[in-house]
């Protein structure tokens, strides 16, 4: 078995373990879906009943809901590791650290992908946004966006999981780093929904690809240090 296949197998085992625990506890999916729904409804009420205004704000609201809920999702997935010393045990296994990062990020990506599809549907219904004709670029934007959130979130959740103030520290650390992703994702979503009249969609998607590659590379290279004693 090549080293890459071995590491992929380890990452899948970690992601499957997280998914299985999540299916039983349903802490990440239920809490994030509820949170995303509340964010969308509250912003909707704040903007008022003007359909045109709501449709214009829809891309921003979609990604704000996803980013806020994403912070919660990656945090919940790392809390699985606080069961009775599980994180220390995971760190002591003789496995490449990047496989642990990849596994945790994969689990985060799976939760975020489900969340993204549900929130996209909810935005379409609540804000009267027509997504049918733009579904392919929207799904591409969604996928690139949630990969970035999972990549950043996994790293920072690993950094804060042992802290008592992790619920406060995680968004404080994660949200500023996600600013370029939020910008690119909102602009790409708006361009996709408008039929890309100015031909800018490709550039925004490239920004998201670059963000994902940088964050995944940084996470794979540095996550191992978070597991070690200082």
């Amino acid at each position: 078995m090549t080293a890459l296949r071995y590491e992929a197998r380890l990452a899948l085992a970690i992601a499957a373990k997280d998914a299985r625990a999540e299916m039983r506890g349903r802490q990440a999916v239920v809490s994030t879906l509820f949170f995303a729904a509340v964010v969308l409804l509250l912003f909707g009420f704040a903007l008022g009943p003007d359909r045109a205004r709501l449709a214009e704000a829809a891309p921003g609201l979609l990604w704000l809901a996803l980013v806020f809920a994403g912070v919660l999702a990656v945090s919940r997935l790392h809390l699985i590791e606080t069961d009775d010393g599980a994180l220390e045990q995971l760190a002591l296994y003789p496995v490449p650290r990047r496989a642990i990062y990849a596994g945790k990020a994969l689990a985060g990506l799976a939760v975020m992908a489900v969340l993204g599809l549900v929130v996209l549907g909810a935005v379409a219904v609540l804000f009267g946004t027509s997504i049918g004709s733009a579904i392919v670029p929207l799904l591409a934007t969604l996928m690139l966006g949630v990969v970035g959130i999972a990549a950043v979130g996994t790293f920072y959740a690993g950094l804060t999981v042992r802290l008592r103030a992790r619920e406060v520290m995680l968004p404080l650390l994660m949200l500023p780093i996600l600013a370029p992703l939020l910008l690119g994702a909102v602009k790409a979503t708006a361009a996709a929904l408008a039929g890309d009249p100015f031909g800018e969609l490709g550039a925004w998607l490239q920004l998201l690809v670059a963000f994902d590659v940088i964050m995944l590379t940084a996470g794979l290279a540095t996550y191992g240090y978070l597991l070690e004693d200082g």
Binding site: L10, D83, L92
Partner: protein
């Protein structure tokens, strides 16, 4: 009910004469918030021996085991496991270590079998399915294999964590208070495990307050107090002069 014959690592460890010392520490110290939990421990443990670390709470037993497990880095001093350096060779040391801490490292929302299957994947255990079932049988939990760990008692969790050790091929087993929360039946499991590990040449360090029930399975004893080794007895372990002060560092030990 645990089995009478326990299946331990099949890896050949070679004769004791050809192996380097299982553990060597030189002035090993660890500070927490400036206070020494371990204050300069120098020990040599021969391979294939079962050694007890004894002492009251705060003696430094857990800190020593955690450093040897690679979970903690020493603040000062150095150490080797199987001739490999604890600072430089962490990746090479980890496959050789099995560590059972106070915490069991189990996932509450996975079943007993799922917990061990996950560990088997992480440890690259050959014939994982067979070995997982065998380990569950060995610790007497095969009948509860489909139950979530969150429904287990403290003693059952400890037995399952011991089963996880059986999936690896460690040459050094570190047990921190393995008898805590165990009933008589589970105590005999720990005794059987010690016997089985000794038989195949695995070195075992057991931290405990009392070793009454394990006495006959141990070669040597290390008595610790306030982060230092105060006495060594029996075979297989030697201690150099304690070094309570680490040269060049403001390490204060109150004795």
């Amino acid at each position: 009910m645990p089995r009478t014959t326990i299946y331990v690592s099949p890896r050949s460890l070679g004769s004791h004469d050809q192996r380097p010392p299982a553990v060597v520490t030189t002035d090993l110290a660890r500070l927490f918030a400036g206070r020494p939990a371990l204050a300069g421990v120098s020990l040599t443990v021969e391979p294939g021996r079962a050694i007890a670390l004894l002492g009251p709470n705060g003696a430094g037993k857990t800190t020593l085991l955690r450093i040897l497990s690679t979970a903690l880095r020493p603040s000062y001093g150095s150490g080797q496991v199987d001739g490999l350096d604890l600072g430089r060779d962490v990746d090479a040391i980890r496959p050789r270590i099995a560590y059972l801490s106070h915490a069991t490292g189990l996932y509450d929302d996975l079943t007993a079998r799922e917990n061990l299957a996950f560990a088997a994947t992480m440890l690259a255990t050959p014939h994982a399915e067979v070995r997982v079932d065998r380990a569950l049988e060995d610790v007497g939990l095969i009948g509860r294999r489909r139950d979530l760990v969150r429904t287990f008692s403290a003693g059952m969790r400890k037995r399952l964590a011991l089963a996880r050790i059986l999936l690896g091929e460690a040459s050094l087993v570190l047990l921190d208070e393995p008898m805590a929360a165990l009933d008589d039946e589970a105590m005999s499991l720990v005794q059987q495990l010690l016997g089985a590990w000794r038989e195949v040449g695995v070195t075992v360090l057991v931290a405990a307050h009392s070793i009454e029930r394990l006495e006959s399975h141990l070669d040597g004893r290390v008595i610790m107090e306030r982060g230092l080794v105060t006495a060594v007895a029996g075979n297989g372990v030697t201690s150099h002069a304690p070094a309570p002060l680490v040269a060049g560092h403001p390490l204060t030990v109150t004795r």
